[in-house]
């Protein structure tokens, strides 16, 4: 049985080894960009089917972001929406034969979580100023400074492990079932994987939103109740 923590390189471009998750990530990115460009070219006042679906997704995302951040969702829509759609497509790409979801490998999840981390810092500094954002680490008292610093790291880490563990365990269980029981038996598990993938994409996006919202609002009203999750 191969370890889920190791990836074998598919081929090399010069000295750079290219692995299967990298290829899958680039294909998903290309599909998303091409789809967005196609949709953008055909925008009309009287929308067609595809535009209605796209507007529905955007509206639902806006509602969720507004619920969490309690302000205008426009500055966060691009990042949170892209992360949600990418993680969703990546999780569901495991249903295609021969494709392993890129999110089932630690590196992709680490990159996504680092993006959320950097966005948290960026939005915190942008809305509170550099000194103002640093001051939020001393909320409610200066005793909390080490805890607040540790929290920044641990929640990013748990964001990585959560997505990785959920998607990877799904792939792993399907592999074990397939080798033990044979063809067509893992189909119920794959259906469960579709649900898990959607829920995990939603949670990843919402948690990123919660972190950013907390960084933005902590400076606005000091002594705000802690909104971060495990």
């Amino acid at each position: 049985m191969t370890s889920p923590l190791v990836v074998e390189p598919l081929f090399h471009i010069g000295p750079v080894p290219i692995t299967q998750p990298v290829v899958a990530t680039w294909v998903i990115m290309a599909v998303m960009v091409l789809g967005a460009l196609l949709l953008k070219r055909r925008l009309k006042q009287r929308p067609g089917k595809a535009q209605v679906v796209a507007e529905l997704i955007t509206g639902a995302l806006d509602d969720q972001i507004r619920d969490v951040v309690q302000s205008d969702p426009a500055p966060y829509r691009v990042l949170i929406g892209t992360i949600f759609l990418f993680v969703l497509i990546a999780n569901w790409s495991g249903m295609l034969p021969g494709v392993e979801p890129p999110t089932a490998h630690l590196e992709t999840d680490a990159a996504l979580a680092l993006m959320v981390f950097v966005a948290t810092l960026y939005h915190g500094v942008r809305s509170n100023g550099f000194v103002g954002y640093l001051k939020t680490f001393a909320q409610p008292t200066w005793v909390m400074i080490p805890l607040n610093l540790v929290e920044q790291i641990t929640r990013t880490f748990s964001l990585i492990i959560r997505l990785f563990g959920n998607v990877m365990s799904g792939v792993f269980v399907i592999g074990i079932m397939l080798s033990l029981a044979g063809l067509l038996v893992p189909i119920p598990l794959m259906a469960l994987d579709l649900l898990t993938g959607a829920v995990q994409a939603y949670i990843f996006a919402i948690l990123g939103c919660v972190f950013i919202g907390a960084a933005v609002s902590e400076g606005r009203d000091a002594g705000f109740p802690e909104r971060s999750a495990s």
Binding site: S3, I161, R162, F164, G165, N166, F172, I203, I206, S230
Partner: protein, 80 residues
Amino acid sequence: MTVEEISILSAAIAVSFGALGPGLGEGRAVAAALDAIARQPESAGTISRTLFVGLAMIETMAIYCLVVALLVLFANPFVK
């Protein structure tokens, strides 16, 4: 016992005890959510959405244990 045998045993213990706590927690969460839906059927949508997020959070604890078990099995630093 060699390090490998201890690793296999500890992976099994980690997953089994790691499944125990989240199992109890998820049971309580679902029971509370059903109670709330029975009292206020009109807010079933909000409650079930929050429930799903909460369940995924609780389940994450079990997933952490699974990751630890896989680390012990596949990436054990004490096995040469």
